[in-house]
């Protein structure tokens, strides 16, 4: 049976791993390849690097990190942040990434998803959706989420579920869904957002934003229907280990790949 994946995310700025609250207040948390190798050893099912500086002149730094990581960690690596063209995606894949996640650039130019999927296959194209709850309007209005871009600084007016369906139709092989309300807050994943999207698409959905403890991973899968769960802070700061998260998921009856120290 297909395992539910546990994916540590490394937010990378200027060649270092950082983590902030709601994408600001960045704190340095280590060397990306070193952390990546540690996670692979500890049972991570995949790795995600999000380049949150993404300034074009820093591109070389990121590619170097990707290459050094791919030589040390023999598990899948997704890289996102600032990829705007087919050629930029090619460079990241050539450095050793298996997938690229598209975010702001795909919202600005949705056909980019189609061009990248045609060139590299849809399995290499992850569309990252940062969404925020729409809280204005009558209390009786159905739940809705708006897509935000540029690291949460800019609202788009785009409905997150509608955008998710369109992204898949254009060629996204996976969706990485981040709740901007929850990101970095440790208040749990937005399982209603996840469920709204999972029910409308066939591709795997990766839950992101808000993990505080192992129980949140279980809820993202059971309540949200997520295929994979991503987290950053709780792993970097060793608040919880990957093995601990997987043991909790296994105890809840979810299929997980063995991590060292986990009897699945």
């Amino acid at each position: 049976m297909l395992r539910r994946r546990v994916i540590p995310c490394l937010d990378v700025a200027d060649g270092r791993v950082v983590k902030g609250v709601r994408f600001v207040d960045l704190v340095d948390e280590g060397d990306p390849p070193e952390l990546a190798e540690r996670y692979a050893r500890e049972g991570a099912d995949e790795l995600v690097f999000l380049d949150i500086t993404a300034a074009p002149e820093r591109r070389g730094t990121l590619l170097d990190i990707v290459e050094r990581t791919a030589r040390r960690a023999f598990i899948p690596l997704t890289v996102g942040g600032g990829v705007r063209t087919v050629d930029e995606m090619r460079d990241v894949l050539r450095a050793g990434a298996d997938k690229v996640s598209l975010n702001t650039a795909a919202v600005a130019d949705p056909e980019l998803i189609d061009r990248c999927a045609r060139r590299f296959g849809r399995q290499a194209v992850v569309v990252a959706i940062d969404a925020r709850r729409i809280t204005s309007g009558p209390a009786t209005a159905p739940l809705a989420w708006e897509v935000v871009v540029k690291g949460g600084r800019e609202a788009t007016g785009l409905d997150a579920v509608v955008w998710a369906e369109r992204a898949v139709a254009l060629g996204a092989g996976e969706l990485l869904v981040t709740s901007m309300d929850r990101d970095g807050t440790g208040s749990g994943f937005d399982t209603e957002l996840l469920r709204a999207i999972v029910d409308r698409v066939e591709v795997p959905v990766i839950a992101s934003g808000g993990a505080a403890g192992p129980d949140d991973f279980v809820r993202a899968v059971v309540d949200g229907g997520a295929d994979a769960v991503l987290a950053a802070s709780i792993f970097h700061r060793r608040i919880h280990s990957i093995a601990e998260v997987k043991a909790t998921m296994a105890a809840a009856g979810l299929p997980v790949r063995d991590a060292p120290g986990v009897a699945a």
């Binding site: 290459e67 899948p76 296959g121 399995q123």
Partner: protein, 218 residues
């Protein structure tokens, strides 16, 4: 392998269908010397041939044709020389693909078909590879080990899941063929280069088999 022995040379076919970096790094990690083959000359001196690849069958076959590699690959397999097909590289071994109607290499009877009743597509992630029989390629890897998949289609041999060529199956909604073997040919639907320690072990086993084959004159 003794330190004085010549490293086993593995030719990895590059036909523009996917990323070779990870497979090259993984093979280097297990001690092989890797050459990237973009034309028939690239196969010269190789002890084993690996055809990786992701994506659709028709463009892949067009690129293999354009590189002049279709006949050399068929001849390599016909001579029962050590061969590993990975993901699309396994699917291409069959006669055709339902994905785009492409005619493929046709060295194994059967077709590539879309995964049926799959709860998610593409099938992405770690899944259990359950063996139908033992094989040197899986030496040291537990039966039912989790390996990493990324695909929506899979090869279906003419004789179905019980065909003699089937080495292992995996379940995603329904069982599909996740590994095949015939003589010195091995094909795997998962990505050993991205499947952690067990994946590296499979590649090491393939390299070891090629090392042995290289020492026995044909």
């Amino acid at each position: 392998m003794s330190p004085t022995a010549t490293p086993t040379r593995i030719a990895v076919v590059d036909y523009g269908a996917g990323n070779l970096v990870s497979i090259e790094q993984a093979l280097t990690q297990v001690g092989a010397e890797v050459t990237i083959a973009r034309d028939p000359d690239g196969l010269r001196g190789a002890d084993a041939l690996i055809v990786p690849g992701v994506g659709a069958a028709a463009p892949a076959m067009e690129r293999l044709e354009a590189a002049g590699l279709v006949d050399p690959i068929r001849a390599w397999i016909a001579a029962d020389r050590p061969f590993l097909g990975i993901c699309l590289g396994l699917q291409l071994l069959f006669e055709g693909s339902d994905e785009d109607g492409a005619q493929t290499l046709g060295v194994l009877p059967g077709r590539s078909v879309r995964l049926e009743d799959a709860p998610t597509l593409p099938h992405i992630g770690w899944n259990q590879v359950v063996r139908k029989r033992e094989h040197a390629a899986f030496a040291g890897i537990a039966d039912g080990a989790d390996l990493y998949f990324v695909h929506s289609y899979a090869g279906l041999p003419a004789g179905g899941l019980t065909d003699d060529v089937v080495l292992a199956t995996t379940d995603h909604g329904r069982p599909f063929v996740s590994a095949v073997a015939r003589g010195n040919l091995v094909g795997v639907q998962f990505h050993p280069e991205r499947s952690g320690t067990d994946g590296l072990r499979l590649l090491a086993n393939v390299v070891a088999a090629a090392t042995v084959a290289a020492r026995i004159p044909a």
